[in-house]
Homo-oligomer: 280 residues x 2
């Protein structure tokens, strides 16, 4: 069922890519996994799930983030899914911010997207089950991501607070119901009933969080990010966290943009943050 | 004359790309530079030149090698030129291993390549002159590269031993006159007179090196590199180095392939190697 399509030694561990037929998205999905040195059936390691941003595949983070040395040192596996269902039979859109490469980590309700665009179920249930079945990992999980994937990571963690020990994000879209990227995607995938939208909005979900379900959350945002004001709006989440005394840290990094150069500059800090909880 | 086309903060320093009209290659050339934090006219830093392999541009190393944190810590600038002249007026070839993206860091003598394909002059003279004129760097230089660029780095250092303090390479083509990639390129760029070929062959150049001109040299080679036996042949260079007591270290790394995953696994060691001499 899992087909291994690449296997490359890196930082003493292994980067591997797989494809498999996915039941949640009804298409062939590809993902990548980094296994740190020494991971084995008798030495299982915890997993950080990484959700990428618009236009990305499983490859962007793995090739550009420079995460492997620190993950190897800390003994953490990393799993990176694709950002949407793919294929000739999967509906698409000419723009970069909707359709293939832009799944927004939700379950679509609107035709023609509702058959395949179930990335929420894929990321929350199907993929971890597969990973825990086939790789030398424990069920201890953290989650992180970038931009659309930062939205995905924080939203998924808030909806499943017992499933993850910690959550973090780079440049997350924290309030998709109030920004152009989110409004376009949620309208297309979920229709016009905005009550459905709130269940995938990090700000709205944090408002409903119970104190017993709080989990440590870190967000890092570049001060020179061209999407900051119109699309990302981290201050909206900081306001909710303040109101709720939610353990969110927002680190603003002056001069940094929205690119993988930014992510590579701070990925070690995120790995160290998660490591406290993953290996506790 | 220099046109800045991107400027991105990374690891506390800056990644910048420029284009300029080049006199050696008679076309517009692009290069990238990483400036470590604190580099300024009153705090000039030494430079590591990086020469990339077949099909690459200035971007592959900068996006995938994960070199910036260590270079920032060590206070080393990195300059990455393109791998050939480019443009609609520049001759090309349908194959990946000849023409644009495959300049082999030599001066071509054969039409139609001899007008533009003068990457040797570009890398040895024109680019360092430009860099030292426009950026906060000293004239202290080291050189490194990968595959075709590993050939370039070792060959350029052997021909200009006073210009560089050290040289290194990942998976270098050390003996191009005796491998398919080299024979094809040297025939196309230099013609059939093999006496011309030797002046760009690392093994042949090391045979002629005078002891006063020896410089520290490090090569790292993946043991699972699919090009090892037919194209790279590092043992040919080790034999010459042994014969001449040349200070070359070849590190074989079992299980690693020819990719940037391999380079990213060992780039810190190369930066530390060069740092000993660059900041001495």
């Amino acid at each position: 069922m899992l087909e291994n399509i690449s296997s490359t030694k890196v930082a003493g561990g292994w980067h591997k890519q797989y494809t498999h037929p996915a039941t949640s998205t009804h298409c062939t999905m590809r993902f990548a996994v980094f296994l740190p040195p020494g991971a084995s059936e008798t030495n299982k390691v915890p997993v950080l799930y990484w959700l990428s941003g618009l236009t990305c595949t499983d490859e962007n983070f793995m090739q550009k983030a420079g995460a492997f040395k620190k993950a190897a040192e800390l003994g953490i596996a990393i799993v990176a899914p694709d950002t949407s269902p793919r294929g000739d039979n999967v509906p698409n859109d000419d723009n970069y911010d909707f359709g293939q490469g832009a799944g927004f980590y939700l379950n679509a309700t609107q035709a023609p997207f509702n058959t395949h665009f179930n990335m929420y179920d894929y990321v929350v249930d199907e993929l971890p089950e597969l990973i825990e079945q086939h790789f030398p990992v424990t069920s201890t999980k953290a989650i992180s991501g970038h931009s659309m994937g930062g939205h995905g990571a924080l939203m998924v963690a808030l909806k499943n607070p017992k499933a993850y020990v910690s959550a973090s994000a780079f440049s997350p879209i924290v309030n998709p119901i109030n920004c152009p990227w989110g409004i376009k995607a949620f309208t297309g995938y979920l229709g016009n009933d905005k009550s459905l939208w709130a269940q995938y909005d990090t700000c709205e979900l944090m408002k409903l969080a119970k104190q017993d379900d709080y989990l440590p959350m870190l967000a890092t945002q570049g001060g020179a990010d061209g999407f900051l004001e119109e699309q990302l709006k981290p201050q909206n989440l900081v306001a909710v966290a303040h109101e709720k005394a939610y353990p969110l840290t927002l680190e603003m990094q002056e001069g940094y943009d929205h690119s993988y150069f930014f992510i590579s500059s701070f990925i070690d800090q995120h790995l160290l943050f998660h490591s406290q909880f993953l290996t506790a």
